[in-house]
């Protein structure tokens, strides 16, 4: 019924609850023929015109003038057969509700379920529902008969004087309190405010001036955004000044609005309002429930259910828990609840609080209003017609959610990055920087397990080699650098989040969407009211268009995806053919695509695992080799058999000292140092034959050739095995030469060894064993 009232109020600015058009035109039914209605309307207009022209009674004159002003709108409403019929139904049902004690019975039934009805309840009822006073006799009779209420006035006794308006009284200490919070005077004043608001809405000039009057009083005052009484007082003050100015400029039409804000200003001074401002807001939000809440005392589950049903006749609560959480409990919280059953329901509602909060937010976003009930059909039609907008809103919501929680995303991301960097270093060592990107964001417990094993091996190696200080570097590589990288990512996300929150007008965009959703909801409701029966049929076309558009979109996206997949597949096939070559060249390390498939990932894991197993198996042998290497003294020969490579002034690859050629043998100084990875050694070598320049080389191959050192001041190196041969050159003490492995004896039986004279091993010579020392 509220809907036809709203429709007419919105379209014509006439509140049919205040003006009975059927009574004004003396129409007897909703289905009167149009000709007869037209006749009645014309007659009534003529009568008013006559009154205006001839009457001397100021009151009648004013009333006729007022009616004449609105006559064209009245006639328009009544000439519309559908509106006329609905209007008749509205008046008929309202009359039924108002004229019979049915409403009173319903009200007192509910009150009776929680307490014994007494005189104060009856007084309040007639005070609050002033329109029920005309049925007072019947109601009193019913109360005496059905509810055995004592102390009521005798039949026929006039009690009008008893119901003096309470708005004059600021506080009556003896009066009942609404659920221990609000005094009767406050409740009545709120009712008065609502009446003044309705009265203001009926004035076309006022409505034209203030579009806020289209909604409810709660919406007009924007109580949702007001957090405390100070803000409320400030708001009332501003409004008051504004409406007062309007009244001064535009006349008495604005008087009810001025009264409304005067009343609100009065209320804001009441102590119960000061003490319970949050509950006070709810009295404005759901005013239809206030008289019930006032009367209820020791509430039972049955009365709670009944109250919820009454609430849902006007408002749109999802279920009883939604009702409890959003209305009942905030008001009822100070009540001393004795009833166990109620406690159970309340407890159940409280457990559903989080879910309810989320659903409330969704409702709010979609423009659904709890203060107004809309049918399921309206909601369904609304969703099906406007879902693309919701989709757009959802995209925005998702992005907003992500940006607001960037830090929560960044924390695990940073931690994963740090862990992966550590693991990548431990598993790949020399090429870790090439491998860090490989599946770095993929949480992988297997990789962690392998890394721990690798760490154990490395620590063992460092301990065995006596290189404990290398653990510091290990600590740097696997803890400090990854943690710094993780922190960098977290810090970056945090800063980006801050920048985005500042630069994008989130609230503005959100408000726009909310507004659109709300307006579209109102539009659907309006259309639903206009073409209740045809709306679905009309909407079918819209659904069809939407559906067709979706199919087109899906086809387009699928087509593009399919096309891209085909291209990728061709590329993958070629890639497969190349993979062996890539593997051979070691390119697989940086080709992350190689590991995309599960099989490839498995293969990679197997490789790492086999590598670690191999390390474990060969460990005793390696350990022995390390120990032997550490025990060994004296120089050896080193060669790079892979390529020309650099040598460095320090065993860390920082400063180049020169280049060594591939295949050339260089004499070692005897100094060596295990690399930080613990895998191989840096060797110090002489870069020239004069042993003046040295350098540190990495990954050099040690050559197991005999090494001869000159022990005398002047040693002759001859072209053959014997003193008879020519001297090729002379050598100084401590000069080292690599032996070719050939040896021979001279006439007296002295052994001569063949040696290489240069690093390139092109020239050879012979030296007697009497002037040399064999080092290995």
């Amino acid at each position: 019924m509220a809907s036809i009232r709203d429709t007419i109020l919105k379209r014509y600015g006439i509140d049919i609850s205040q003006e009975n058009l059927f009574k004004i035109y003396r129409l007897t039914g909703g289905n009167i023929p149009a000709g007869e209605v037209k006749q009645r309307l014309d007659d009534q207009r003529r009568k008013w015109e006559q009154t205006v022209n001839n009457s001397s009674n100021a009151k009648l004159l004013e009333k006729a003038e007022d009616n004449l002003k609105k006559a064209s709108k009245y006639e328009e409403i009544l000439m519309d057969p559908m509106l006329r019929s609905k209007l008749y139904q509205y008046y008929h049902s309202t009359a039924e509700a108002n004229d019979s004690p049915k409403f009173a019975k319903e009200y007192f039934d509910l009150i009776k379920s929680t307490k014994e009805i007494d005189r104060s309840d009856v007084d309040f009822f007639f005070q609050y529902f002033a329109e029920q006073r005309k049925n007072k006799k019947e109601i009193l009779l019913m109360l005496k008969k059905n509810y055995k209420v004592r102390g009521l006035a005798k039949e026929g006794e006039n009690q009008e004087d008893d119901y003096v308006e309470l708005e004059g009284k600021k506080k009556n200490p003896e009066s009942l309190m609404i659920v221990n919070q609000f005094k009767e005077a406050t409740v009545i004043k709120i009712k008065k405010c609502l009446e003044q608001f309705q009265s203001s809405r009926q004035r076309t000039g006022v409505r034209a001036q203030y579009s806020e009057l289209d909604g409810t009083l709660y919406q007009m005052l924007e109580l949702d955004d007001i957090e405390n009484l100070e803000q409320f007082v400030e708001l009332i003050k501003t409004w008051r000044q504004d409406v007062y100015t309007q009244k001064q400029e535009k006349g008495e039409d604005f008087a009810p609005l001025v009264d409304l804000f005067n009343t609100l200003a009065d209320i804001s001074e009441y102590q119960d309002v000061v003490d319970n401002f949050d509950s006070f807001k709810l009295l404005f939000k759901y005013p239809e429930l206030t008289p019930y809440m006032y009367g209820l005392v020791n509430i039972k589950p049955r009365s709670l259910q009944k109250l919820y049903e009454i609430a849902n006749q006007t408002y749109a609560f999802r279920d009883i828990y939604d009702f409890l959480l959003n209305y009942f409990l905030p008001i009822y919280q100070h009540f001393n609840i004795q009833e166990r059953a109620i406690k159970g329901v309340i407890h159940k509602a409280q457990t559903k609080a989080t879910a309810n909060k989320i659903l409330n937010r969704i409702d709010e976003k979609l423009g659904r209003d709890k203060q107004k009930r809309s049918s399921m059909m309206v909601n369904a039609v609304h969703f099906l017609v406007y879902w693309p907008i919701f989709m757009m809103y959802a995209v925005f919501g998702l992005f907003r959610f992500t940006v607001q929680r960037f830090l929560f995303i960044a924390l695990p991301l940073g931690a994963i990055l740090a862990a992966r960097l550590s693991c990548a270093y431990l598993c790949f060592q020399n090429s870790w920087w090439l491998n860090w990107g490989m599946g770095v964001f993929r949480p992988d417990l297997e990789l962690i397990r392998l890394s721990i094993q690798r760490l154990q091996i490395q620590l063992q190696m460092l301990d065995t080699s006596g290189l404990q200080y290398q653990k510091v570097y290990l600590f740097l590589y696997i803890i400090v650098f990854p943690v710094l990288a993780g922190l960098f990512v977290i810090l970056l996300f945090w800063r980006v989040s801050k920048v985005l929150l500042k630069t994008i007008d989130w609230i503005g965009i959100d408000r726009t969407f909310k507004n659109i959703c709300h307006k579209s909801q109102l539009k659907t409701e309006r259309q639903y009211e206009q073409w209740k029966n045809k709306l679905f049929r009309k909407s079918v076309l819209k659904f069809g268009i939407n559906l067709l558009s979706v199919i087109l979109c899906v086809c387009f996206v699928s087509g593009v995806s399919f096309g891209l997949c085909s291209i990728k597949k061709t590329a993958d096939t070629q890639d497969e053919q190349l993979s062996d070559m890539k593997y051979f060249l070691g390119f697989y390390i940086i080709n992350t695509d190689f590991y995309k498939s599960k099989e490839q990932q498995e293969k990679w894991k197997r490789e790492v695992e086999e590598n670690i197993e191999g390390w474990k198996k060969s460990w005793p042998e390696r350990k022995a080799a390390i120990e032997k290497e550490l025990a060994r003294t004296g120089p050896a020969w080193y060669v790079s058999d892979f390529a020309d490579c650099y040598v460095f002034s320090r065993p860390n690859g920082d400063h180049r000292a020169g280049t060594i050629s591939r295949g050339v043998y260089y004499l070692g100084t005897g100094n060596r140092k295990m690399s930080s990875s613990g895998i191989s050694y840096w060797y110090e070598i002489y870069l020239d034959d004069t042993k003046t320049e040295t350098g540190w080389g990495y990954s050099l191959k040690e050559v197991k050739l005999p090494c001869f050192t000159i022990t005398v001041d002047e040693a002759n190196i001859r072209s053959g095995a014997g003193n008879d041969f020519d001297v090729l050159r002379q050598a100084k003490p401590e000069d080292c030469f690599v032996g070719t492995g050939n040896e021979g004896a001279d006439d007296v039986g002295t052994i001569w060894h063949e040696i290489y004279l240069d690093g390139t091993q092109t020239q050879t010579g012979w030296v007697s064993e009497t002037i040399i020392r064999k080092d290995n």
Binding site: P388, F396, L492, R495, V496, V499, L500, I516, K519, S549
Partner: protein, 134 residues
């Protein structure tokens, strides 16, 4: 064909909104990286210096010198290293500041411009939707 208008305005509006948000995010991300890069450079520089000096000390310790003797022995080297490091670091930071301004301007021109254009288009589609609903 109000429905079609609403549908396509919503689809295109969503795309524009996403593009606008992406542009703004990428711009913010790159700007932040650029701003933080000075700090990163400093941290890396300091770490490198510490590492280098550490290596120098380690060599002395390996050779059997005490820490004080090693410092005394390498004092001149250390001074040169620190001064050279400071000069190189300062120069790098200065050079980077110039590069940063250039990159920032470029990013601002491309990404911010693109983001604003998408934003305007998104507003345009929202306008169409509002008009159709009203």
């Amino acid at each position: 064909m109000a429905t079609l208008k609403i549908f396509w305005s919503s689809v295109l509006g969503s795309i524009m909104l996403i593009l606008s948000m992406i542009c703004k995010t990428v711009y913010a991300l790159l700007t932040c990286i650029l701003k933080m890069f000075g700090g990163i450079l400093m941290i890396v520089g300091i770490l490198y210096l510490v590492y280098y000096v550490g290596m120098l000390m380690q060599e002395g310790l390996d050779a059997g010198y005490s820490l004080i003797s090693t410092i005394a022995e390498n004092f001149a080297d250390l001074c040169v290293i620190i001064i050279a490091w400071y000069v190189i670091f300062k120069l790098t930071v200065m050079l980077f500041a110039i590069v940063r301004i250039a990159i920032s301007n470029f990013l601002s021109f491309v990404l911010e411009g693109l983001g604003s254009a998408c934003d305007r288009k998104y507003q345009y589609f929202i306008g169409i939707i509002s008009k159709e609903i009203n």
